[in-house]
């Protein structure tokens, strides 16, 4: 079975902004002075400290897996996002390709006091093949994809880079 070569962040960014995916992959990164990013870090560092055992498997980093085989991912967002869900689905797929079956996922949104259960369906698996080839195509481009000009740009670490 083919190994998966992307990180969870790359899958996440694919759903957020193709430009961000490109820049991030080419190591064009900037200081996270952004208050949103900092808030995210605080939540990461404090809220879930007790359970925190980040696991690195190949290219992915999972927040933690509990003893029922559930992947947990913590997100700071005040909105449940497709990008988060696909990121966790990608983790499940990666584990599956490594022979770890029956894994499910759970995204915790401490700000919303909510959790979202994530399952990987056969349709998802098919969709991922398309996503992977799209990502490869984006990354093969010599130039970064165009600025998307959406509201998320305001809190993006690349804001000044993209707009100045």
């Amino acid at each position: 079975m083919q190994n998966l070569n992307f990180t969870g962040t790359q899958i996440n960014y694919y759903f957020v902004c193709h430009r961000k995916l490109w820049l991030f992959t080419k190591d064009i990164r900037f200081e996270d002075k952004n208050e949103y990013v900092q808030l995210g870090r605080l939540i990461d560092e404090n809220t879930y400290k007790r359970n925190k055992k980040q696991i690195e498997i190949g290219k992915i980093k999972i927040d933690f897996i509990d003893n029922k085989g559930v992947i947990h991912e913590v997100k700071k967002s005040n909105k449940i996002e497709k990008a988060h869900i696909h990121q966790v689905k990608y983790y499940i797929l990666t584990l599956k390709r490594m022979g770890v079956e029956n894994v499910t996922g759970e995204i915790d949104y401490p700000k919303l006091k909510k959790r979202e259960t994530v399952l990987l369906t056969p349709e998802d698996e098919k969709e991922f093949e398309k996503i992977f080839s799209n990502i490869r195509e984006i990354l093969d481009k010599p130039k970064p994809p165009a600025v998307i000009k959406k509201t998320i740009c305001k809190k993006c670490a690349y804001h000044e880079f993209c707009f100045a």
Binding site: K26, D27, K33, K143, E160, F163, A164
Partner: protein, 329 residues
């Protein structure tokens, strides 16, 4: 926004937990490390490797100046924002003559614009520099026709000579300023220009360090001419904006006089007090904000330097043609 720290009075700098501690003759001051962008050291200080490791971790460069206020070197943390893709593209822009000329031209064209803005400002206030403005305008136009770096540099030299010869008129003949002499500066104005230019150079280095650009690969100046020659390229644009205006104001308002300098055999340099006054003004200037047309909000001059670096990155990536920053006020 993170701030630059300028240290004068001899002190001992240490890491204290996660803050910086400055011990000035037993008086202790603390600064949270997150609030510091870079550190400028003047006069003598004591620091240890524990501190340097800490600054390294926090990605804070340290710039060191010698007794005379001349730049002597920088400490750069090993952690950098490197990107192989950007480095290779930057080198390509140096190697391809056309590409290199385009960037070199932009640096000088923007510099000439900013010089003209300064002169026009004073011409409108009754200083007789109109003829020099006209000549510089002609020279600026001829930059376009230059087909080699030495040719560009030649025109630039002429522009500078004309510009510096206008200084006497601007500072109302308070001081004799004949020629720009760099190493070592031989008179009052030259010593201010030298000091100011090295400040701009180091501020730009600090900003470059926070991007993926390699500061040793330059376009206008020959790489290796000075170690971080890309900072020299970008300095051309910001010297008239940050330093020259400030020098004129300070002299005309008598905030700095020849008494603030000291003359050695053939040196002229700022004394500690003068240096402090100069730096305080410089720091104010870096923090001054202007409305940014594209971002549609106010950004500081210091931020403008960073944005200029971003523009160069975008140009190098083949995204957006670079156009050097020109003052519009």
């Amino acid at each position: 926004m993170k701030q630059s720290l300028y240290l004068f009075s001899n002190c001992t700098i240490k890491r204290k937990d996660n803050t910086l501690m400055f011990d000035i003759e037993g008086k202790k001051k603390f600064r949270p490390v997150e609030a510091v962008s870079d550190i400028f050291l003047f006069s003598e200080h004591t620091l240890n490797t524990k501190l340097l490791n800490f600054l390294g971790q926090q990605k804070i460069p340290v710039h060191i100046f010698n007794y005379y206020g001349f730049y002597s070197g920088s400490f750069f943390p090993r952690e950098q924002y490197l990107s192989g893709h950007v480095t290779i593209s930057q080198a390509k822009h140096y190697l391809d003559k056309k590409k290199r000329m385009l960037l070199a031209y932009e640096f000088l064209n923007a510099a000439a614009s900013n010089i003209l803005t300064n002169l026009t400002y004073y011409n409108n206030r009754g200083r007789d520099v109109g003829e020099k403005i006209l000549k510089i305008k002609v020279l600026k136009k001829s930059l376009k026709a230059a087909d080699s770096i030495p040719y560009l540099m030649g025109i630039e030299g002429n522009i500078r000579d004309l510009y510096y010869s206008a200084f006497n008129e601007i500072v109302q003949n308070k001081i004799e300023f004949q020629n720009r002499v760099k190493r070592p500066p031989d008179n009052f104005i030259n010593s201010l220009i030298s000091f100011g230019n090295s400040l701009v150079y180091t501020s730009i280095l600090s900003e470059l360090y926070r991007t993926q650009l390699d500061p040793t690969v330059s376009f206008l100046h020959e790489p290796g001419y000075r170690r971080y020659s890309l900072a020299l390229d970008i300095s051309e644009i910001f010297k008239p904006i940050l330093i020259d205006r400030m020098i004129f104001t300070m002299i005309n308002k008598n905030e700095l006089t020849e008494k603030d300098t000291e003359k050695d055999l053939n040196y002229c340099y700022l004394k500690d007090k003068g240096r402090m006054k100069f730096l305080r003004k410089y720091d104010e200037r870096l923090k001054t904000t202007v409305k940014h047309k594209k971002l549609n909000r106010h950004v500081s001059y210091k931020r403008l330097i960073r944005l200029e670096c971003y523009k160069i990155v975008k140009h190098i990536l083949g995204e957006e043609k670079y156009s050097g920053f020109k003052m519009w006020w």
